[in-house]
């Protein structure tokens, strides 16, 4: 049972610094928007700080925070109106899996991801990062690099396939993932 002494500003700051980035990862996973993710996580810490005397965390801070951030991220998606409800339900199912601790920490996954990316051809890695890190649309990547949209798509597809094969964690949790998704599917409107 981890109950940090939050009245010490120092220990709250420590908590903040320790978990900020990994919580942002969860928020980005759901909302796919860097600025929104940052706001969601800041908001979580603000609420947590203001209620620190009423909140009793029965398990560890990490899983409590992950749940709270996942929940507000889904809420944000619902309010934003840019994603359909049935899509949100799929994301919710995936996010449940994403935040579940399955033994492979985000840090290890991150390291494995970069290790694999570094073994890709230069151009492929570059395109993959432009799409996934800089969030540049396929057609804009094509324009910038002077190649066709199809070539961009092919590079990204090959990158994803390579990651799937080389990066163990991308394959590992399928069974867990499936049971989460199936649960969610039950609530989808059948059309």
């Amino acid at each position: 049972m981890h109950q940090p002494n939050l009245d010490e500003n120092a220990s709250f700051e420590e908590l903040f610094r320790q978990h900020f980035v990994s919580l942002c990862t969860i928020a980005v996973y759901v909302v796919d928007d860097k600025d929104a993710a940052r706001d969601i996580v800041q908001d979580f810490f603000l609420t947590y700080w203001n209620r620190r005397h009423q909140i009793t965390i029965t398990h560890d801070f990490k899983s409590y925070a992950a749940k709270a951030v996942r929940y507000s991220s889904i809420n944000y998606l619902k309010k934003s109106g840019r994603v359909k409800l049935e899509e949100i339900e799929v994301i919710e199912g995936l996010a449940l899996h994403f935040t579940a601790e399955d033994g492979v920490s985000k840090e290890l996954r991150y390291n494995a991801l970069w290790e694999t990316l570094n073994r890709m051809p230069e151009q492929r890695r570059r395109i993959f990062l432009m799409s996934n890190q800089e969030k540049i649309k396929y057609k804009d990547i094509a324009l910038q690099l002077g190649i066709s949209v199809n070539t961009v798509k092919t590079h990204i597809r090959l990158a994803l396939q390579f990651l799937r094969v080389e990066c163990k964690w991308m394959m590992a949790p399928v069974s867990l993932l499936l049971c989460c998704v199936q649960t969610v599917m039950l609530f989808l409107p059948s059309n």
Binding site: C24, D32, N50, V83, H97, L113, S131, N132, K153, V174
Partner: protein, 371 residues
């Protein structure tokens, strides 16, 4: 470009589309969902690496400041709207231009000490044990109380022990004659380990509540400064923190004497000996005001904030400073179990006066009024 064969059955176009358009295709197979999840995760991990926790922390500190001011306003509005009840937990102490909010949750630091007649000083800790066991008395403690049992010897020479409580801690004592004493915080009681004389005499500084065992032939006398309280068997409270001695009787009958003056108190009567002008007077009182501490309650009926904080500083080992003396004259009514932490009391005070600000700095609390 030639694509390698893919036997996963995944429609990669769907995945690619979902990444570019932030759309989730609806009819995805399990394999496709898993591939999409992994792709989103890779994307989340890559995006999050741009987050800088130091930068974020600076941002957070600023946000927190802003939200604080907003919150105080919101609270005031809400109370005006009659939502005060729901807010019990939401009251905050606003501290302008100060990064850390300190909360009054420090527990008392001092220890209860017993000085025995043979010169030993014993700090009374949680664990129960026997302190002394000889022919004068057997003394044992259970952490928050002390029990004296008279020994076999009947020595005329009276050995005196001293029990001292620090600020923030009260203590119970069972004297050798069966008399019970609740010694309030920041008090001292000097008493014999065994009562072998013709009188039972104890000396009190601070505050104590006594339930005296009835013994007609051996009066019980509490000495407090220049005043004495003589009883045969009864229960009463003596408060002598400052220059005055306030004695409140709950049952029985007692005689209070100071210099040449003497008064007899009936139940629910209270005498006050004024140490400055030497006067001794009595009046009828609601004894609950004066005996609540014995039961572990905080009870103030329209009492000035100044007197309340005087009690609170003893119970919780905190000092109070008033920004403006007029604040000390505000009257409050408070009836609650005495909580372990002072902060809960401050929050209660805040519920009835939302314009009060309690600034905590270590063990000092500065009270100001919000303009």
């Amino acid at each position: 470009m030639q694509l390698p064969p893919d036997n996963t059955g995944i429609d990669w176009d769907k995945i690619l589309e979902s990444l570019d358009e932030v759309k989730i295709p609806q009819d995805m197979t399990k394999e496709e969902l898993s591939a999409m999840s992994a792709a989103r995760e890779a994307r989340a991990l890559l995006t999050a690496e741009e987050f800088d926790e130091s930068e974020a922390w600076q941002e957070f500190v600023v946000l927190r400041e802003k939200s604080k001011h907003r919150r105080t306003r919101i609270i005031r509005l809400a109370i005006a709207a009659g939502l005060a009840l729901a807010l019990g937990a939401g009251l905050w102490i606003a501290v302008p231009r100060q990064q850390t909010i300190q909360v009054a949750d420090a527990l008392p630091a001092g220890k209860v000490r017993l000085k025995t007649s043979d010169g030993r000083i014993i700090e009374l800790e949680k664990e129960a044990h026997t302190i002394q066991d000889n022919d004068i008395a057997r003394v044992s403690t259970s952490g928050d109380s002390l029990v004296y049992n008279a020994g076999a010897a009947r020595i005329a020479q009276i050995k005196m022990d001293t029990l001292e409580t620090p600020r923030g801690k009260s203590f119970q004592l069972l004297l050798a004659d069966g008399t019970k004493v609740w010694l309030n915080a920041a008090s001292r009681l000097v008493f014999p380990a065994a009562f072998n004389g013709t009188l039972r005499e104890v000396f009190l500084e601070g505050e104590g509540y006594f339930e005296v065992t009835h013994k007609t032939e051996q009066p019980f006398i509490v000495h407090t400064g220049n005043a004495t309280t003589t009883v045969l068997g009864t229960s009463f409270n003596v408060s002598a923190y400052g220059a005055s001695v306030v004695t409140t009787l709950s049952t029985g009958k007692i005689k209070v004497a100071a210099g040449q003056q003497a008064l007899v108190l009936q139940p629910d009567e209270q005498s006050t000996f004024n140490g400055q002008d030497g006067s001794l007077q009595k009046k009828m009182v609601d004894t609950r005001d004066f005996l609540a501490w014995v039961k572990g309650d905080l009870y103030f009926d329209a009492v000035s904030l100044k007197s309340i904080t005087e009690s609170l500083s003893r119970y919780y080992d905190y000092d109070f400073i008033f920004d403006d003396a007029a604040i000390g004259q505000l009257r409050f009514t408070l009836d609650m179990r005495r909580p372990a932490m002072l902060q809960e009391v401050l929050t209660q005070l805040n519920t009835s006066r939302t314009d009060l600000r309690f600034r905590v700095n270590g063990r000092t609390i500065t009270i100001s009024k919000q303009s």
